[in-house]
């Protein structure tokens, strides 16, 4: 058997796991590992400018492919800088393996230079973590880390590696395990057949059903099955923010996103439904609004891989613990074999009602109340110019909601955003991670002038690795979502939501060697955008001036029911 040092084992194990890129930043505790990286070519390291960006790059790779992304950061500040990225992945159930350097074992607990208890610091935001105690454990620990990160309900796993575990002169036999078995961890591989049958009977009996799906469809690779089942039954489908693309966004049966900024028709349909079929979604507070008023007439079927997500906030009538793909396949088989059919007459009436709702709001917005263009117009144009087929990596705020509402995602894994944690600064590194792995695809970062400045240093990484992504910056010169809440709840006292000294983004991106395009008028938008996307080998930053007074609508009234919404600045349901 081959003898390798701990440092070499780390790199070799990643290779054997099939990892192409790792994203990271070196430091004292990792010098042995970085030396091992230098001496091979299988695993390519991407040097970021801040560790948070490394985690977001790894995370976005995982969101686009379903496979765990890998970040490598040093001890102390390297590790703590990665925490926001780990928490981002944790909240959205994204598989990720984060390797963190640690001070030498004998120094642990002595407040050594660049020492942080990373296992302790990261504990509430990881699926699991490992601390290497013996170099010989490294292959097995890394195998377990990938297995845990990617199986069941996915999530980030931290592997903390003290420097003396990687000493180059100490060599041990290396063998990468083919499989892994943990007696205390056995995620379910299929749903309970009896429960699935019961659920299918309820669906076939329903008069006003709604299918409500989330990120579980995306990470569970169940989009095709969901689409087939929904179309076979002719049932309306709504997606959560994390679930967009799980069902084709331009299909008639898609009634939009639901929740706080969900479409009028989806929130109305939820309120009036008699059966919610929830799959891979977790009834979180941004979806349900006031729990005591949530969907008063609905029975609930809840399919989720994580039993703890079922009946956590809303009680399920038929809980089904299992992977979305498998459960949907079983449901499909049952429908196809069933002699009973769904009540078509009732569905016809239900669809008429939904179409009425759709006609009432339909995602309209005013364009006549401002000289400047509307952010919604920019997203609609983006959707048009990219044929609805780009990877859209969003930051957090109004622009995120506009992108979710107005970009029509027809495929899964294309909408990449920090839904649960709401991490500003996510968009740019996310777009970098996706573009590096999908160089032939259009990859866009939709951002605002606030969010982009939270990881703006990555413009440098983009230069170093020639990552020709496109940035669409909706520049309203303010923290739009904060400002919207201040307008609605604080009598427009704009406390610190206004950005006084914005940089000249054109000069800034040019300084890093990129192309900047500034757009002030809607008439120029389409040409400018087409020009940007025609520059296949350049990173282009579009700084687009949009109306700072625009709000995101619909917006649910806090603590109300699903149907209580503001539809514009002046209309309430």
């Amino acid at each position: 058997m081959e003898l390798l040092s701990g440092a070499e084992m780390v790199v070799r194990a990643l290779r054997d796991e099939g990892v192409k890129y790792i994203y990271g930043y070196p430091g004292g505790a990792l010098l042995h590992v970085y030396d091992a990286i230098f001496q091979q070519e299988d695993v390519q390291h991407i040097l970021v400018r801040h560790e948070q960006a490394a985690t977001h790059m790894a995370d976005a790779y995982a969101r686009a492919t379903g496979k765990a992304g890998v970040a490598l950061v040093t001890s102390g500040p390297g590790a703590t800088n990665a925490v926001t990225g780990i928490a981002t992945a944790y909240m959205d159930s994204i598989p990720m393996v984060v390797l963190t350097g640690q001070v030498m074992s004998h120094l642990i607990g002595e407040d050594a230079f660049q020492e942080t208890d990373m296992i302790g610091v990261s504990r509430p935001v990881v699926k699991h973590s490992f601390s290497v105690q013996d170099p010989e454990e490294i292959p097995a620990i890394i195998k377990k880390a990938f297995h845990i990160a990617e199986s069941g309900r996915p999530g980030p796993v931290v592997v903390d590696i003290p420097k003396d575990m990687t000493t180059p002169t100490e060599r041990f036999p290396y063998e990468y395990p083919k499989s892994v078995k943990l007696r205390s961890y056995n995620p379910v591989s299929r749903g309970h057949t009896g429960q699935i049958k019961k659920a299918m009977d309820m669906i076939l009996d329903a008069k006003r059903p709604v299918i409500y799906t989330g990120g579980g469809i995306i990470m569970g690779d169940a989009s095709a099955e969901l689409t087939e089942l929904a179309q076979l039954l002719n049932v309306p489908v709504t997606n959560t923010l994390m679930g967009l693309g799980g069902y084709p966004g331009t299909d008639r049966q898609f009634i939009g996103m639901l929740g706080m900024h969900g479409s009028y028709e989806s929130n109305m349909a939820m309120h009036h439904t008699d059966l919610i079929v929830a799959i891979g979604a977790r009834f979180d507070d941004r979806v349900t609004n006031g729990l005591d008023k949530f969907c008063p007439t609905a029975k609930i079927i809840h399919v989720d891989i994580d039993p703890a997500s079922i009946s956590k906030t809303v009680k399920a009538d038929v809980p089904i613990v299992g992977p979305a793909k498998n459960v949907l396949q079983e449901m499909l088989a049952l429908v196809k074999a069933s002699k009973k059919e769904i009540d078509k007459e009732a569905l016809e009436i239900w669809w008429q009602q939904i179409e009425e709702w759709r006609a009432r709001h339909g995602g309209r917005f005013r364009t006549d109340d401002s000289e400047l263009m509307k952010p919604q117009q920019v997203i609609e144009m983006l959707s048009k110019v990219t044929n609805g087929d780009a990877y859209v990596c969003s930051d957090v705020g109004q622009h995120q909601m506009f992108a979710a509402q107005y970009y029509k995602f027809n495929k899964p894994n294309r909408w990449i955003n920090s839904g649960g944690l709401g991490t500003m600064g996510f968009g740019l590194p996310a777009a970098m991670g996706v573009k590096m792995n999908f160089p032939e695809e259009e990859v866009v970062c939709v951002t605002g002038e606030g969010s982009i400045q939270m990881n703006i240093q990555e413009l440098s990484t983009i230069s170093q690795y020639d990552i020709p992504l496109k940035v669409i910056c909706l520049n309203n010169q303010s923290l739009g979502m904060v400002r919207q809440w201040q307008d609605m709840n604080y009598e427009s006292r704009h406390s610190h939501s206004y950005m006084k000294s914005l940089p000249d983004f054109m000069k800034l991106v040019e300084a890093y060697g990129h192309v900047g395009i500034k757009v002030d008028k809607y008439e120029d938008l389409e040409d400018a955008m087409r020009r940007a996307f025609a520059m296949k080998d350049r990173m282009v930053f579009m700084d687009i001036a949009v109306d700072p007074y625009e709000h995101v609508y619909p917006m649910q009234v806090p603590r109300g029911s699903m149907r209580d919404m503001w539809l514009s600045k002046t209309e309430r349901t």
Binding site: P124, R183, S184, Y185, A308
Partner: protein
């Protein structure tokens, strides 16, 4: 309602902190907690008593089960069970109180495990209410120090929590 939750978990470094962290992170309450290895030294058994609605306790057991180190979880209070807690209590024992403490300890089937000319240390085992009752009977003015292990418990009959 009070629940006794028994957790069988890997006897690994960090496992206990994950369990305790889970309770604080998710705003679950811990009344008492006790943990030690089992006859199989690779496994630890942890017993936690908590107070919460059925919904909260359901979440506690589900979230505990999600921890990678946790092998099995059972809510003992769901069925017939036995529970015990051990207390050591150091009391001022002078004059008449020496005889009084001895008598009370006998009634509660406690044992005096340390004696000096001015103190007794009594060991008492039983359900938590029995230990509370002992403290109440003697009155707090004589108590110098109390240490309690927290509740341990097992299901009655054939039912076991094992691999």
């Amino acid at each position: 309602m009070r629940h006794i939750i028994s957790v069988l978990m890997e006897n690994e470094p960090g496992a206990l902190s994950r369990v305790v962290g889970l309770f604080s992170q998710r705003n679950f309450n811990i009344e008492s907690l006790t943990v030690a290895p089992t006859e199989d030294s690779t496994l630890s058994r942890l017993t936690v008593t908590t107070v919460g609605s059925d919904k909260v306790v359901e979440q506690i057991t589900k979230q505990l089960n999600k921890l990678i180190d946790v092998v099995k979880v059972v809510d003992l209070t769901e069925g017939e069970h036995v529970e015990r807690e051990l207390m050591m209590i150091k009391l001022k024992a002078t004059g008449q109180m020496r005889a009084e403490i001895k008598r009370t300890a006998d009634i509660f089937r406690g044992q005096i495990i340390d004696v000096t000319s001015s103190t007794y240390t009594v060991q008492l085992t039983g359900a938590s209410e029995k230990l509370d009752a002992f403290i109440e009977t003697l009155g707090t003015s004589h108590i110098m120090e109390v240490v309690r292990t927290g509740v341990s418990g097992l299901s009655r009959g054939e039912k076991v929590l094992s691999l």
